[in-house]
């Protein structure tokens, strides 16, 4: 691991100021960042520890939504009575990811900002446009069975690995980043993560140093909620595909560079299409790269079954 300096942040704006400096990074749970630092894929020269900031509260908002502090652990989120009762899709999504130990450490903000688990991103011996812009993408012609089928580019076919974010994306809401001046803005969850395009190294709409202080979920949409995930092991594995349904809203996971709100399927359903037809419409633009071709019918069936309310 490369050398760095370390500070424990005193307040959110101060943390954002410190993290805006070149080479600086925020650290909260650290379960992804420290792993990447050991591999020298992440090489921050300064760490700003925000894990002790008092931003871990979870409380209802006046309009019936839920404000989740960015430093709440994944466990605290999944077990919160409000989340279990009113946002089961979010609780189920969190519980479908990682292990008990990791969920106890990982934070809500950090979960959103975790990096892809693309094997080529993790392998410094292989070209990766995300790690080294312009180097090329080894996954295009490589082992790509985990990779994106929607919204990918010739520069990058990596996926966003979060389960939690997929559940949240189906519900909808916003994140609230603060900058070094202490100014907080509202950024729709659907605009937080970017598609790769020609700049896969730019993964979010956050400015350098901006610190997510909270996720504010919309009031739960009317109707049932569920989260379904397909993976290579029964537990403790990243998804091949996942789907979250919240009323008439749906999102897909492990299929794109960001949590994928299934707006095409939602519109089709609202227009009277069957779940099968709606899922087919959502997956119509999907593109496989060989190893991940199977994910297209897999995701289509998973989405159709979830929209029909089946336990796929």
């Amino acid at each position: 691991m490369r050398a760095f300096t370390y500070e424990r942040a005193g307040d959110a704006a101060g943390a954002a100021r410190a993290a805006a400096r070149p080479g600086a990074k925020l650290i909260a749970g650290g379960t992804n960042l420290i792993d990447l630092m050991k591999l020298e894929i992440e090489t921050p020269t300064h760490l700003v520890d925000v894990s002790r900031l008092p931003l871990a509260g979870i409380e209802p908002t006046p309009d019936g939504g839920l404000r989740i502090g960015a430093m709440a652990t994944n466990t605290a989120l999944a077990v919160h009575p409000q989340v279990r009762a009113r946002y089961p899709v979010v609780a189920q999504a969190v519980l479908a990811g990682a292990s008990g130990q990791l969920r106890n450490k990982a934070t809500v903000g950090g979960n959103l900002l975790q990096r892809t688990r693309c094997g080529y991103f993790y392998d410094p011996a292989k070209p990766c446009n995300k790690r080294e812009p312009g180097a090329g993408c080894a996954a295009l012609e490589g082992f790509n069975r985990m990779h994106a089928i929607l919204g990918a580019s010739e520069a990058c076919i990596a996926t966003h690995p979060s389960d939690m974010a997929v559940g949240m994306t189906a519900v909808g809401g916003r994140v609230e980043p603060v900058d070094g001046e202490g100014r907080t803005r509202a950024l729709p969850l659907s605009e937080l993560h970017r598609l790769p395009g020609d700049t896969p190294q730019v993964e979010t709409a956050l400015a350098p140093g901006e610190l997510i202080t909270a996720v504010v979920l919309d009031p739960p949409p009317a109707g049932r909620q569920l989260y379904r995930k397909v993976r290579d092991r029964a537990s403790y594995a990243f998804g091949l595909a996942s789907v979250a349904v919240a009323g008439g809203q749906a999102a897909l996971g492990a299929v794109a560079h960001r949590p994928w709100r299934a707006t095409t399927a939602e519109a089709a359903l609202a227009g009277g299409a069957s779940p099968d037809e709606a899922a087919a419409a959502e997956l119509a633009p999907a593109q496989g790269r060989g190893g991940n071709d199977f994910k297209i019918p897999l995701t289509r069936r998973l989405l159709a079954a979830a929209l029909a309310g089946e336990n796929a």
């Binding site: 519980l95 008990g100 106890n104």
Partner: protein
């Protein structure tokens, strides 16, 4: 950097490299070799310890981030003369072969049992609002962060079940 930890009930003041994981500080700085380094990437669970009673992977956290925290390692669980009920259950159920993953399994089980007692649901819980019943599928799901390359899983599950039922 100077940090203070309470380890197995004893206050300790330490000078640590900011890069040092909590795992390396426990093993190398405090010579508590019971906590094991398996993968060092949060994938195997051999390094599981309890921080303020909560199980975490000690390999994926920096020691400096735990200034002021209370850490429990396997050395703080039971004694050779008076084993903790989980340790006794591991012996009675023959829940290991090589034993390398065992300290992590036991610390993880302690954390897991506390989570279950607090009513935390898991991926195996059908009803998120119902009381937790530690069935075999529940124990397997909740312990999935701890790998055993000898594959003593049936005995590990039996040992945890025995300890849970006795508690």
């Amino acid at each position: 950097m100077q940090i203070r930890l309470t380890v197995n009930g004893e206050p300790r003041a330490l000078e640590v490299d900011v890069r040092a994981s909590l795992l390396d500080v426990l093993r190398e700085g405090l010579a508590l070799k019971g906590t094991k380094k398996g993968c060092d990437h949060g994938q195997c669970g051999a390094c599981t310890v309890l921080v303020d009673g909560v199980r975490i992977n000690s390999c994926l956290t920096l020691a400096v981030m735990h200034d002021g925290d209370a850490v429990t390692t396997i050395e703080g669980v039971g004694t050779p003369e008076a084993l903790h009920p989980i340790q006794q259950a591991f012996l009675e159920q023959d829940a290991f072969q090589c034993g390398y993953c065992t300290p992590g399994q036991i610390c993880s089980a302690l954390g897991m049992l506390a989570e279950a007692a607090a009513g935390h649901p898991s991926h195996a819980t059908a009803d998120l609002l119902a009381p937790v019943e530690l069935t075999e599928p529940e124990i397997r799901e909740r312990m999935s962060g701890n790998l055993c390359r000898c594959s003593a899983y049936p005995q590990i599950v039996a040992a945890i079940r025995q300890a849970a039922e006795a508690a």
